[in-house]
Amino acid sequence: MANSTWKIARRSNAQLPLVIVMALAVVLVLLGKAQAGLFDRARMSLTDWMQPLLSVAHAPLVQFDRWVGSVDELFTVYQENLRLKDENARLRQWRNVAVVMQDRVARYQSLLHAVPDPGVDSVLARVIGRASRPFLETMILDAGSSHKIKPGQAVVDARGMIGRIYLAGSRTSWVILLTDLNSRIPVSISPGNRQAIMVGDNTAMPTLDTLSQIVTLRAGDQIVSSGDGGLLPPGLPIGTVVEQGGKYRVALLADASSSEDVEVLAFRKPPEELPSSLELPAVAAGLPPATATPPVITIAPEPPVTAKPVTPPAAQPTSPADQADEDR
């Protein structure tokens, strides 16, 4: 191309800087391994600074995506309409069932005095950017720490969980998607309440690492967040189990590439407090509470009893108070 157009300059004779720079780059990688958040502040400052530009530039792109995505749907719109009508009728039936079941569960909970689930606050945020690098799948939201968003919080859309907050700037935040190489989520598989870790591997369907070797999964089992670790609320819908090439993967309910408005769940499990002394098992059973340092009991041989003449003790005041009492 352009290489033959210009005469080429003299070879750079500074070989030493290249060696130094390469050594610096290796040190940077090692430093990054030890401290992964090395560039986090710079990243967030840049994203916060670009937030107005991203918000403006994202809107026409969304329209363009919708237009491009809907071109091929023009040819299947009739069949799609019939399918959706059928699905809608079935979903209405399921909705009625769900409402009845919800009432029944609420009644049972009130009868059993069940502890209600903790309320979860949420922040509605808009997706203003998506980054798709070879080893990183993220999206950028237009809400940050000024909206009380913190790293680790769950991000969901109407269908299910999308990912977790990875970095939180003042006005923007980065979401690490469930499909990302770095994503690890403790999940629960029902029926059976089996525990597993869902691991992203940059494919559309994350893998499942079951915690027990004897667990057998079936395609169609439901995956929800388990809530282990206290960062994510339990029971968030995530996906269903599918078998692919002898491995179990998760077909996610949410489609992060089409989500525009998402919710960030501000769930924080309060640290478990020590029970009061009245709640201890011994006290509850009616026994005396155990002391922190039990008294040491020494059994000494009793001295032999001998007859002694009884003499009245001499009155010796031991304290000013005693002296005052005697004066009175």
């Binding site: 191309m1 990243r43 690098r133």
Partner: protein, 178 residues
């Protein structure tokens, strides 16, 4: 305008034009890492920063120094959002290879130049892949990095045309080397 004043302006412009390759690299990083996608994330964004690195490493290595490549790599790491230092090291490795085989790369005409750039992009992507594999101690999926390589190679032709234009307008006339 006397001769001294003209010389002063020329010297200040000359010192600014020295920064043009580095600034082009930084701008390419910003452009390719804008979190906006026309393909809805279907294909990754190309490594546009590799075009000015490759071009000026061949044409004017005195302007595209290892330190400049290091700076461009750091910005790529910051903007890209991945583990720190991965792209920096990959860029520096690529620069080292191009610098050592400079005569071979620079003599490639036409389609050969595109293949030469694709080879440089392959070195970058392969380095990144292996660093990531070591970093996470697992074999990552190959298809995303292959897509990145393909996209980067595709964008070389318009990219090289643009940096060639910039070179001719801003850097070339002031080139001190014959």
């Amino acid at each position: 305008m006397d001769i001294a004043e003209r010389t002063g302006i020329l010297m200040s412009w000359r010192s600014l034009s020295v920064l043009v390759p580095f600034l082009c690299g930084l701008f390419a990083v910003l452009l390719s890492n804008l979190p906006l996608s026309l393909t809805n994330g279907l294909v990754p964004a190309p490594l546009l920063a590799l075009v000015p690195i490759y071009f000026w490493c061949l044409v004017r290595p005195d302007l595209m120094t290892p330190a400049a490549v290091f700076g461009i790599g750091i910005l790529q790491d910051i903007m890209g959002g991945g583990p720190p230092g991965v792209w920096t090291l990959s860029f520096v490795i690529t620069y080292a290879v191009i610098d050592r085989q400079r005569d071979a790369f620079a003599g490639l005409p036409g389609l050969g130049a595109v293949l030469g750039f694709a080879t440089a992009a392959l070195i970058t992507c392969a380095s990144t892949y292996f660093i990531i594999a070591l970093y996470y101690w697992q074999i990552p999926l190959l298809s995303p990095i292959v897509a990145e390589l393909a996209m980067t190679a595709v964008f070389y032709v318009p990219g090289a045309y643009l940096v060639g234009l910039i070179h001719r307008r801003l850097v070339g006339p002031l080139r001190s080397e014959p």
